[in-house]
């Protein structure tokens, strides 16, 4: 049965279903209780499950992640919310030195099934510190799983998988998707973590995107189709594990690739993807891999963010650059 849900509602449904099914799941963070979170993602969870299952903490992000680690060490499956990307930075030591490393430090004896939910990226007219794209920090840190759903269905399914799984997960929720409704089928089998999805098969070039840039890539492909160019779109869904095989297979087929991501491009996930494609598709590439990313600047203010964010136009400009004459 499909229902029409926004991404906020899809995530809410995933939390609800996980709380109902597994006593060890707990949800906590800042304003996630009676308020239901500043994005209303946890709306009604305290009312339904009580304030032992979904509760507010003191205002301290290192505290939230640190407490989640301790709870996971003692048998729970905490799902915590960081209010905005940049407000996860106080928890960076807990995430990097403990959450990511505990399994290794204990020879796999202590695994930390903690999910850190991060309202992610921009495009919502937020003021400074509210629209960072922080995935590179996490993706570079060995031991973390990093997910970035682009559809409300995946938001539901991947969050279920993340909560049920053994590894710590950074779950990046594109803010600008929170309030857009889509068809969701909660009964669909939970997707395995680590598989990219080919959203559109194309013959001429492959766009690789994740999270908030997937619709941008799809829009670019639509536009290109009207001009007779057939672009494929790969939605990574999972940044770590990175489904290299799917990406490589697509790019080998088309011989051209553009990576589309919102974060500043320098030393980013887009760099990794571009480097890996360049290495593994070397003899198949007709043109250098292009990256369409945010600029190497602090996230810009509401009135200028559209200049910074990858747009379908900018993606198509990059596609135009893929040395078609020589091919």
């Amino acid at each position: 049965m499909t229902v029409k849900l926004t991404m906020a509602q899809a995530i809410n449904a995933a939390l609800r279903d996980a709380l109902a099914e597994d006593e060890s799941v707990v949800v906590f963070g800042e304003d996630v209780g009676p308020l239901g979170g500043v994005f209303r993602v946890t709306d009604g969870l305290t009312a339904t499950f009580g304030d032992r299952r979904c509760f507010d903490t003191p205002l301290a992000e290192s505290g939230i992640v640190g407490m989640a680690i301790g709870m996971a060490m003692n048998g729970m499956r905490p799902v915590v919310e960081m209010q905005f990307d940049a407000f996860a930075y106080p928890a960076f030591e807990q995430i990097t030195s403990h959450l990511a490393k505990m399994a290794n430090r204990t020879r796999g004896r202590v695994r930390l099934p903690v999910v850190v939910r991060v309202p992610y990226a921009g495009g919502i007219g937020g003021v400074e510190h509210h629209c960072d794209s922080s995935e590179a920090y996490y993706a570079h840190t060995p031991g973390l799983t990093v997910l970035a759903p682009a559809t409300n269905q995946d938001a539901y399914g991947l969050l279920r998988a993340a909560i049920a799984g053994p590894d710590p997960v950074i779950f990046l929720e594109p803010k600008k998707h929170y309030f857009a409704p889509e068809e969701v089928e909660p009964e669909t089998p939970v997707p395995p973590i680590g598989r990219a999805e080919v959203r559109r098969r194309g013959a001429d070039a492959t766009l690789i995107a994740y999270g908030p840039t997937v619709p941008v890539a799809l829009a670019a492909a639509e536009l290109a189709a009207t001009e007779g160019r057939d672009l494929g779109v790969v939605d990574l869904r999972s940044l770590v594990p990175f489904d290299e095989d799917t990406v490589v297979a697509e790019v080998r087929r088309t011989g051209r690739a553009v990576v589309v991501a919102e974060a500043p491009g320098f030393v980013s996930v887009a760099s990794e993807i571009a480097a890996r494609i360049s290495e593994r598709c070397f003899h198949h590439l007709e043109a250098p891999v292009r990256r369409v990313t945010g600029f190497d600047i602090p996230y810009p203010p509401p009135k200028l963010e559209h200049h910074h964010l990858p747009s379908a136009e900018r993606v198509l400009d990059a596609v135009d650059d893929l040395q078609w004459d020589e091919s």
């Binding site: 304003d31 301290a60 003021v127 320098f266 600029f295 600047i297 509401p302």
Partner: protein, 360 residues
């Protein structure tokens, strides 16, 4: 555990209250403070209206907390520094910064709007409690240079839970830095009530753990705040080190316009605090002293209205900021990559301008 008796110099009806620790500030100081309260309240209302009209992206109002705001600025001397948060627009304005400049960021621009060095007012901080450490650093720099600068740093009750609050208070105490920490305990951190932040008898009690004086003051009593903060500034300037001041107050408006306060507090609670409005109380006291009359009040109101009108006019101009400036200040010397990105955006914009409208 030791009780901390709250400092109060004016009762709810504006009657003077004796306190053996703090003298009543002189009437002219309080008249000035009242002028600032009127102005601050009007600014809060005007800015909130501008949000509703789409002229501001967001405005965290300090309605109800104006006494804290105006005294935080008033007790400082010219060379002193203020380290405010997103909620402290009124304090920044009282420190002498043009409200149009202060609201630059919230209009959708990318920078804080004013020159922090010129005004000795740090940019308004959003990441909670982080600015308290900057305040300690600024203060310690002054000490090292032998200056008697004092730094007043603001934060909320919620921010006291952050690690940076702890590190800042401890650094200040260990270095005997001339900092006054003013915690505006407005009872909520967005939706989270004080009871979820702390089960200490008061936030002022936290001073004990750092070895610094902790003072609990009625945050809606302009006279008490003036006395307590003034004394803390004097002590800091004299080498007496930092003070933690907790102001017992209340946020009358929602956290921001985006917030739905009905989800976490009752109208009755708000109404009870609205009756403790700092303006009403100070006004009653000053009228009782006969140092405030209709004429002066009208003058204050007119000045506040003029400010508000100027603000409306300035914000009616909604030309977007210059995109090229996105790159201009990130670093003193741009990286080659940044320079290339700036050039490509310039080229894009130029191409758009050349393209006739219909083709876009």
């Amino acid at each position: 555990m030791e009780e901390l008796r709250m400092v109060r110099l004016l009762d709810a009806d504006g009657g003077a209250v004796e306190d053996d620790r703090y003298p009543m500030p002189p009437p002219e100081v309080l008249v000035d403070a009242y002028r600032a309260l009127v102005r601050g309240k009007r600014l809060n209302e005007q800015a909130s209206a501008l949000v509703r009209q789409g002229r501001l992206a967001v405005y965290p109002s300090s309605r109800g907390q104006e006494a804290c705001q105006v005294t935080a600025a008033a007790v400082l001397r010219p060379g002193d520094w203020l380290f405010p948060t997103y909620r402290d627009t009124v304090a920044v304005v009282e420190r002498g910064v043009d409200p149009v400049e202060v609201l630059t960021l919230l209009r959708g621009d990318w920078h804080c709007g004013y020159d922090p060095s010129r005004h000795r007012v740090a940019p308004q901080a959003t990441p909670l409690a982080t600015q308290l450490l900057h305040a300690v650093g600024a203060a310690h720099a002054a000490t090292l240079r032998g200056e008697d600068t004092v730094v007043l740093a603001l934060c909320g009750d919620g921010a006291t839970s952050e690690g940076d609050f702890h590190e800042a208070l401890n650094f200040a105490a260990v270095f005997a830095a001339p900092v006054v920490f003013l915690v505006q305990n407005n009872k909520y951190a967005i939706s989270v009530p004080l009871a979820r932040q702390s089960v200490a008898p008061s936030l002022a009690h936290k001073g004990i753990g750092y070895g610094m004086p902790g003072v609990l003051v009625d945050g809606n009593d302009t006279a008490a705040l003036t006395a307590v903060l003034g004394e803390a500034v004097t002590r800091a300037a004299g080498g007496g080190g930092p003070t933690l001041v907790e102001a017992d107050t209340y946020r009358i408006d929602a956290h921001t316009n985006a917030d739905d306060a009905s989800r976490y507090r009752t109208d009755d609670e708000v109404a009870a605090w609205a009756r403790r409005d700092p303006l009403v109380r100070l006004r009653a006291y000053l009228r009782g002293l006969a140092v405030l009359d209709d004429e002066r009040e009208a003058e204050f109101t007119a000045a506040a209205e003029a400010d508000a009108a100027r603000l409306r006019a300035a914000l009616a101009d909604d030309r977007p900021p210059e995109p090229a400036e996105l790159f201009a200040h990130v670093r003193a010397t741009p990286t080659p990559q940044l320079a290339a990105q700036a050039a490509s955006l310039r080229a894009e914009l130029a191409a758009e301008r050349r393209q006739p409208e219909e083709e876009r």
